[in-house]
Amino acid sequence: MTAPGGPILTVEKVGRRFGPHFAVEDVSFTVDRGETVAILGPSGSGKTTLLRCINFLTPYETGRIHVAGRLVGYRDKDGRQVRDKESNVADIRKRIGFVFQRFNLFPHRTVIQNLIEGPVYVLGLPRAEAVERARKALSMVGLSDKEDAWPDQLSGGQQQRVGIARALCMEPELILFDEATSSLDPELVGEVLAVMRDLARSGMTMLIVTHEIAFARDVADRILFMENGRLIADEPAAAFFAAPPTPRIAQFLARSS
């Protein structure tokens, strides 16, 4: 375990290829506990792949990722890195929340069932305690009245707030947001961003892939900028926006906001 305040996430020289093409190449950065970090960059720059590497939904091929001091997806064997057991990967995933672009709620379970699924069946919490935790998370995302609704009865914005609540119910040490508002109608984006803003202010550690530049400027402590699979900027948000590190980034920001 790292000390509180130390890095919860360490990414070192991470790479992932799809065929001959590097989706992510030689990316390194750290995220401290309590930090909110936004990853910006054009479409296809590898932001989502990088995020998926962190909880090993997409296995990275080179480099190392540590979450709370544990190597993700691999273990050392005679000095070489070999694939870790699935149960160890699952163990790390319990500590990392993931919010998907397309929500991915379980359609055959009600809202409350979606929320207690992980706590009861993965963490082994007593049902009553899981329900209590779920209700707290639902009130945090402003959906206390939707406890018994089915996912398909909810709007996109509501579904995504349930998605965030589902991640919260695992009491993760870090939550990854993969373009959490990109598949929402414009008028529904605000309610989801508001929840994310509250979360960031409550001290949750968050790594956010987003196209919402204004939101990143408002909420993020630090900005990572990716292009062609590489990390080309890693700066405090204020500095990043006050003086964009490269002309290319300045151009991107001008066009996106």
Binding site: A90, D91, R93, N104, G118, L123, W150, D152, R166
Partner: protein, 231 residues
């Protein structure tokens, strides 16, 4: 016709019940086989995938009547002539007509059920698996709690059709003397020389049974249906 119906109704009803019972047994077997084979078909292990594919190719190809002969006449005779004691003992249950019939129908329908279930499992979006994994679920738990419950809803209507196909397939086991509906009709025809009446009466029973099954399948389908915003 009316007097025929009066005389033979109880016997036909008994035959129909035996047919239904046999269908339920065979369908249970088919579902068990189908689930195992379907999981083999979507397994990450190449050998399992191939094995499952061979099963489907083989047993979808064998006509049910041929299978019934193989299981009831073929296997016990082969075991007896092999001189291997444990094999002969293992095949003893096949002397029971119902056991043989159940196995033969299960093996064949299992291949069809496997294909239905495989398609249904693959129809569940891959994102569902990822969502389950993201909260730390194991492969097995993901399958059991997230994938299969959704796949089963998708598979339900075609499995209902398979149930009907098995029910009609039970008419074939009359050839090994199981006293189901068809066998009853044969005996009635032989006793009365009223072939048209005897077999038409059996046909009516089959149609009635199938309609009842369709209604039950429809009701179950509606019961399982998940509410949506438009509903």
């Amino acid at each position: 016709m009316l007097s025929f119906a009066q005389t033979y109704f109880p016997l036909y009803l008994q035959g129909a019940l035996i047919g239904i019972g046999l269908t339920i047994l065979a369908m249970s077997g088919a579902l068990a086989i189908g689930l195992v084979v379907a999981l083999g078909r979507v397994s990450e292990t190449v050998a399992l995938r191939r094995l499952a594919a061979v099963y489907v190719a083989l047993f979808r190809g064998v006509p049910p009547l041929v299978m019934i002969y193989i299981v009831y006449f073929g296997l016990p005779a082969w075991a007896a002539s092999s001189g291997i004691e444990w094999l002969r003992t293992a095949m003893l249950p096949l002397d029971n007509r119902v056991v043989s019939a159940t196995i033969a129908l299960s093996v064949i329908s299992g291949a069809y059920a496997a294909e239905i279930l495989r398609a249904a499992i693959q129809a569940v979006p891959v994102e569902q698996r990822e969502a389950a994994r993201s909260i730390g679920m194991s492969h097995l738990m993901t399958l059991r709690r997230i994938i299969l419950p959704q796949a089963f809803r998708i598979a339900f209507p075609p499995l209902g059709s398979e149930f009907i196909i098995i029910l009609k397939g039970t008419s074939l086991v009359s050839v090994i003397g199981v006293s189901e509906l068809m066998r009853t009709a044969q005996l009635a025809a032989a006793a009365t020389f009223q072939s048209l009446t005897a077999y038409s009466f059996a046909a009516l029973f089959y149609v009635a049974l199938v309609i009842v099954i369709q209604i039950i399948v429809y009701l179950l389908e509606r019961w399982m249906h998940l509410p949506t915003r438009s509903a």
